[in-house]
């Protein structure tokens, strides 16, 4: 089917998402909960675009293309709202994102500085019981990518989202750490994490050394 992205017409496969269409047209949208190895989730709401005929911007990842759909990735409302959402994410973390994380790239792409919002952040809780994987719960933004990677890619079902609302977080097994869960140490969770909340301990050591150097 044919769609139009920012004035450029292109052909997409039936059932394609708006996000796929935008990327096919050479565009790039900010995303935090999206990983092309996983089913679209629609949680972070940072891939909003305007679609002709829709009353408000829609998330590109969970919206399917329709024949003749006109997609505008530069819509002012969408950009303004996405910026607010990313600022809200920054406000829940006790420190700015590490430079090599996906979150840092999204923040940079939107030109968001520190963000306007202040308030409660997530409590520092570092779990280093596993020999290869560390979990810094305070950096979790509940995008669910690790949980879905463990479910959809690995089939290990070792992870779950816990809590509710602002207190949502992720944990392994019965909150017993990776080792005492059905974790197979595949690292898919660390690989997909956009904030470094779940991180290979090797990389965590490097990050700490780098932080020590800058101090």
């Amino acid at each position: 089917m044919r769609v139009d992205v920012d004035g450029v017409e292109l052909e997409v496969a039936p059932g394609a998402s708006v996000l796929e269409a935008v990327e096919r047209a050479g565009g790039r949208l900010p995303t935090l909960c999206f990983d092309d190895r996983l089913e679209p989730f629609g949680a972070c709401r940072t891939c909003l675009v305007a679609v002709e005929g829709a009353p408000a911007p829609v998330p590109a990842c969970t919206t399917r293309c329709r024949e003749g759909m006109r997609i505008d990735t530069r819509d002012e409302t969408a950009t303004r709202v996405v910026t607010t959402v990313v600022e809200l994410v920054l406000s829940e973390l006790d420190r700015p994102p590490a430079p090599d994380t996906e979150l840092a790239r999204v923040v940079a792409s939107l030109g968001v500085a520190a963000g306007r919002f202040t308030g409660a952040t997530h409590e520092v809780d570092v779990d280093e019981r596993h020999p290869y994987l560390a979990f810094r719960h305070e950096l979790c933004i509940s995008c669910g990518r690790c949980v879905r990677a463990c479910d959809e890619v690995q089939g290990a079902f070792a992870l779950t989202v816990t809590g509710r609302g602002f207190h949502s977080n992720v944990t392994a097994g019965l909150d017993s750490g990776f080792l005492d869960s059905s974790c197979v140490s595949c690292g898919a969770c660390a690989d997909t994490c956009p904030t470094g909340a779940i991180i290979e301990r090797r990389l965590l050591t490097l990050e700490r050394e780098r932080d020590d150097d800058t101090d």
């Binding site: 509940s142 079902f157 059905s182």
Partner: protein, 548 residues
């Protein structure tokens, strides 16, 4: 929700087996809290992975608040707030010497927060074990240890021929089975233009049509009895006082879409709903209204009743299905819509309790008779309910198109000292100041004022009400009940609540940015709708909100 998890459960047991959530609920009932042993047992019974069970056990209010030998729950709904500004919460916590969500060191008593008990006609309300006490003196009685059963609200229809307040007699189903094909029944419901009574106002017939055309041998009907709107006790009335009508509506939906099984999800905050519906199912089976080959028609239909565990967002249809499956009650992006892929992956019609209760009248009397009920307004009739501030609170069946003044001041007798404002249709509904009471009670007229019919609750606030405290009350509820899935709602409602939590002036630009993100970007109507009452308050009572 994860289709893999759903598949794991489906393979492990049929749709009517005990879910992980039910096992965890039983554990709390039995020994006051969920232990790891309980989680492991729930995993074994349900087929869910241990981690997923852990996730479930940390989502629902009922599983999180530890219980002492005596467990008290205090209602923090909007009607109770309107009654005394939450003074009853303080008095109860102080008197018991136990904070909200805490259990005393000796395990003798515990206090939990609950929203809402549906005794809004008699606030403030509290629950002592399974007994609900409400109204003047309830807190004192609770502190003395001698609570008494609160009287249920009265009800009355203003229609000569009620649609919703006459006992269900299964005549609509009898007529449909004898005289109509499923397609004819669907056409009749489409022609009646029944809009959903649970808040979204989506045409019920359209949902049915989608489910009809969805591929699948097995289809389900789900009655959404998760009436979480603080201030509303309409579905409670229907489930507990007129359950036959609800079951008949479900059976009709099943006949129209080709489903042979229905589920009702009731709220744990309404301890009387599930037993009432289960008794009704039993008697309907005995009398041949439910079961196999009903009246020799070849149509079979049965109903299972399940109870939730304390979560407002579970009233959203995808979260409701997750709760029925025993999973975390979080919202899923649509598509797929439940009509295409719903309960256990099967095409599912999800309708609100009151919506379904409209269908027997349509099946028996026809769409034309239904459309004539409210001339020049939305079709059919509506149940409304009023809070304790009004002189004559209760459940009323009314026509659409009456002014709110007629409803509030004539039908419900007004509020002593005058009405300052009313919130209509639940926590996501706008708030009308007294000078707007000539607005008509109708889907379109209310929408034009930033309000909605919603569930049909009308919560009146008297002149003493502190509108900044009301804003804080609403945002606290919104943040507490966010399922946590989408970012704008998960963080935005928390930030909005924080802005009003202290007495510091609120930065209007920051508030506007958060409200816009909630409205535009939220995944479901919870985040999307919470700004509506806040915008009303900003518009009508700006000087009271303490803006910077």
């Amino acid at each position: 929700m994860s289709s893999n998890l759903v598949e794991l459960i489906r393979r492990h047991h049929g749709p009517v087996a005990r879910t992980a959530l039910q096992v965890l609920k039983e554990a709390v009932e039995d020994h006051g809290e969920v232990t790891d042993e309980d989680r492991l047992r729930a995993a074994e019974v349900s087929g869910l992975p241990e981690a997923s069970v852990h996730g479930v056990s940390t989502f629902y209010d009922d599983l999180l608040q530890p219980r002492g030998r005596r467990h008290l729950r205090v209602c923090t709904g909007t009607a109770c707030f309107a009654a005394d500004g939450d003074l009853h919460v303080e008095e109860l916590a102080d008197g018991l010497g136990v904070g909200l969500g805490e259990r005393s060191a000796d395990g003798s008593v515990s206090l939990a927060e609950t929203v809402c008990l549906g005794f809004c006609h008699s606030s403030p309300a509290l629950r002592d074990g399974d007994r609900v006490d409400a109204g003047a003196g309830a807190v004192e009685r609770a502190l003395r240890g001698n609570t008494s059963e609160a009287p249920e609200p009265g009800w009355r229809s203003t229609l000569a021929e009620p649609v919703l307040t006459e006992p269900g007699r299964w005549l609509g189903l009898a007529r449909a089975l004898a005289e109509m094909t499923p397609a004819q029944l669907l056409d009749e419901v489409l022609a009646a233009d029944v809009r959903g009574r649970g808040g979204a106002a989506f045409p019920a017939g359209e949902k049915w049509r989608f489910a009809c055309s969805a591929a699948g041998e097995q289809k389900f009907v789900v009655a959404n009895g998760d009436e979480g709107d603080p201030g509303s006790y309409i579905d409670k009335y229907l489930m507990e006082r007129n359950p036959q009508l609800v079951l008949e509506g479900m059976a009709l939906a099943g006949y129209a879409v080709g489903a042979d099984h229905g589920f009702v999800l009731t709220r744990s905050e309404y301890p009387r709903s599930k037993p009432a519906l289960e008794r009704a199912v039993e008697s309907a089976r005995r009398e041949g209204h439910l079961g196999d080959d009903i009246s020799g028609s070849g149509f079979s239909f049965d109903v299972t009743v399940l109870e939730g565990a304390g979560s407002y967002v579970v009233g959203e249809e995808t979260a409701l299905l997750a709760c029925l499956e025993g999973l975390r009650g979080t919202v899923s992006a649509r598509p797929p819509f439940p009509a295409e892929r719903g309960l256990y992956g099967a095409p599912t019609v999800v309708n609100n309790i009151e919506t379904l209760a409209n269908v027997p009248f349509i099946a028996l009397r026809g769409a034309d008779a239904y459309r004539e009920i409210s001339p020049g307004a939305s079709t059919g009739s509506k149940l409304v309910c009023f809070n304790e501030r009004f002189a004559a609170p209760g459940v009323y069946e009314v026509r659409f198109g009456e002014t709110l003044r007629e409803l509030c001041e004539v039908l419900a007798g007004g509020i002593r000292g005058g009405i300052k404002a009313v919130q209509i249709g639940g926590p996501l509904g706008g708030i009308l100041p007294s000078w707007k009471l000539d607005t008509r009670f109708d889907f379109d007229a209310l929408a034009a004022e930033g309000c909605m019919v919603g569930h049909g609750s009308i919560v009146g606030f008297d002149e003493r009400t502190d509108m900044r405290a009301l804003t804080r009350h609403l945002l606290r509820f919104g943040a507490h009940e966010s399922c946590g899935k989408c970012f704008p709602c998960r963080i935005g409602l928390r930030r909005a609540h924080e802005m009003f939590e202290s007495d510091a002036p609120v930065d209007r630009d920051h508030l506007e940015a958060v409200l816009e993100a909630l409205e535009v970007a939220s995944l479901c109507a919870h985040g999307g709708g919470m700004p509506a009452p806040i915008r009303s308050l900003l518009e009508h009572f700006p000087e009271e909100l303490g803006l910077g």
